[in-house]
Subunit: 127 residues, 2 copies
DNA sequence: GCTTTAATAGTAATAGTTACTGATAGCAAA
DNA sequence: TTTGCTATCAGTAACTATTACTATTAAAGC
């Protein structure tokens, strides 16, 4: 894998983002530094960085991939009102499949949904 | 919501499937009973049934929605070799966000990834 | 510097899903 | 039962996120 300035930038953008950005958001942020970078390059590098374990790809209920700088296994909470995604701890820690599971566990993704504290306080939680 | 034969069929197909089918698989199975049913109808009804809580929409790391007849909160395991999705128990039961979370929890999705027992036994687990 | 070739910009293509349109049929009231 | 309203349907076009393609560019080793 060659060390190109584009790949380095995509990586840096993800590492500096704590809001779990999608490819479009990474593209917008990268364009501010390198205006000629192309969307395809962003997609390719995000995928490649995720495959090599440099960043993490996460999947929320909206229909696009998001990227996460945090590599260790952790849970996410996605607010259905404001759409914000945040890291949250899990009560008692994150556990694997219970007894009876004979496969090989390689990844764990936990996603909570609901309304975040901020939206409740502002009274935006809706019906 | 009107009780149409198409909607009833889509619902029945999901209820009779234990393999967490995607829209295309539901379409194929529905076509065997009602050959003129359209893809759009399948999509619309799956979405509507999920929104009204009759079935559950789940999201695996491959890029399409799957549907689940089981309404109660449960975890899934997706084998990266054969692609099969199965229900699995979680060690110690399924927990919510830990203390410090002040929002409203409405949904929990847990997805394990790896290689299933069957693929390990058959020696298909790859590198 | 020169060569090799992975990676790039730009664009076309794909896949899953949703929206649109005229026709159909479920349901309620007459 | 018949009529009217309109949600839903089949069929198709459109849309969005993502991937593939192609000529060009630029890392990295010699």
């Amino acid at each position: 894998m060659r060390n190109t300035s584009q790949r380095e930038l995509v990586y840096k953008v993800v590492m500096q983002s704590s809001d779990h950005p999608g490819a479009d958001a990474v593209y917008e942020r990268a364009r501010k530094i390198m205006p000629k970078i192309s969307m395809g390059t962003v997609y390719r590098n995000l995928k490649q960085l995720a495959e090599t374990g440099k960043i993490r790809e996460i999947r929320i209920s909206d229909n696009y991939n998001r990227y996460d700088k945090t590599l260790q296994v952790h849970a996410h909470f996605c607010c259905r009102v404001c759409g914000k995604v945040t890291d949250v701890p899990v009560e008692g820690g994150i556990k694997g499949p219970g007894s009876g599971f004979g496969g090989k566990l390689e990844s764990t993704d936990i996603l909570f949904g609901g309304v975040c504290e901020e939206c409740i306080v502002c009274g935006k939680e809706g019906a």
